[in-house]
Amino acid sequence: MYDLNKILVGLAIFLLFFTFPILYGMGSAVPVPKPKLDTPEIQKLTDKKCVEDTHFMRTSHMQFLNYWRDRAVREDHRTYESKLNGKKYDISLQNTCMKCHSNKKDFCDSCHTYASVKPYCWDCHIEPKAAKESM
């Protein structure tokens, strides 16, 4: 075989280069994010519950937000009755969801960054912090 040494060196360099991202991040696993729930608005609640139970909100909030969007914008039904306790909520991302979860950075973004998803809600909807800073 010709140039065996050169090929082996080249292969080693290639392998090192290709596996660099894995080797570099080895042992420093990013911890699973824990969205913070300690906003003043949530502290005030006696019964600390979202519109539906935590598991459902965690797994299906995207579909649920789409459902809310269609109910309000397309069907003009602007109140939602919770299946948890029958409590009524105004259907609104800015005025209901973000009233409690006013910490977008520590709540929404913590998971979205971890999972590398980029929802475009905030292209139009105003996040509470931007509004607060300006007050």
Partner: protein, 275 residues
């Protein structure tokens, strides 16, 4: 199977007869059903109200031009709308965003072919907005149903669905629609205090227009422009339900002469001007 020419022609003829008779057979067995189903589908697709069925509510705006032209420099309705809906001040008229704006009689009613315009009206500006037509051409052309007609007559925009093709802008004969050529947030940089935190802005590449403030109507409030006009006590804008014969809009339309923009197009606007 081996068919002779004679047999093939026989079969083809009988099949053709059946085909031609199918429509008649439907008519005979379920009269009207076939036509009705296609009409319902058509009406629903285009967001038109089914003929003969009247919704309980039909929102409409009446603009008292005679009263409004007395308030010459008033922009209260426009400013109220802009601040409620986070509408940016663009500056460049080619890219401007407007839901409600003021213009002159000659511009708004070019089809009123009077060579001699009433001196009181000439050059005087009064507000206009989306006409919320009964037969909205913008809704017909929208490929994604981002704009649609609600049962209460409001021609609504669903910004989530708008792809920015601007067919609706080409279709609207009233120039009531505006396109976001740039990110509207850009115009609020350093002026974040002006943003209404209860309402969204729009994003680059969507079309927007007046929506008669459905989020306010749901709370029993009147549109922001009407509220601002009433606050000033000039009462040029009257908002109400056309399908209620005792509503304020119906009462004033009975008393005064009203005109609508480009009625010859058959769009049936629900914004009336008292002249």
């Amino acid at each position: 199977m081996k068919a002779s020419r004679r047999e093939f022609l026989k079969l083809a003829g009988v099949s053709a007869l059946f085909g031609l008779g199918a429509n008649a057979a439907f008519e005979l067995l379920t009269p009207g059903a076939l036509e009705a189903s296609s009409e319902v589908a058509h009406g629903a697709a285009h967001g038109e109200a089914a003929a003969g069925v009247q919704a309980a509510t039909r929102w409409a705006m009446v603009i008292d031009v005679r009263k409004c032209i007395l308030q010459e420099d008033c922009q209260d309705c426009v400013l109220a709308c802009n601040s409620t809906h986070n509408i940016p001040t663009v500056g460049n008229p080619k890219e401007e965003i407007k839901w409600i704006w003021k213009d002159t009689f000659e511009h708004l009613f070019p089809d009123q072919h009077s060579q001699y315009v009433d001196e009181g009206l000439e050059g005087k500006a009064f507000p206009v907005m989306c006409n919320h037509c009964d037969n909205p051409p913008c809704v017909r052309v929208c490929p994604t149903k981002a704009t649609f007609r609600r049962p209460d007559g409001i021609v609504m925009m669903d910004m989530h669905r708008c792809i920015g093709c601007r067919f609706c802008m080409a279709a609207c004969p009233y120039g009531a629609r505006s396109f976001n050529w740039r990110d509207p947030r850009k115009y609020f940089e350093g002026k974040e205090a002006m943003l209404n935190p209860e309402q969204p802005t729009r994003t680059k590449g969507v079309v927007e227009k007046c929506t008669f403030c459905p989020e306010r109507l749901a709370k029993g409030l009147e549109p922001a422009c009407v509220e601002a006009c009433k606050k000033r006590k000039s009462d040029c804008l009257i908002f109400g339900n056309l399908n209620d014969p005792e509503s304020e809009v119906r009462k004033i339309l009975r008393k005064r002469t009203s005109i609508r923009r480009k009625p010859e197009l058959g769009t049936k606007p629900s914004v009336f001007f008292l002249v």
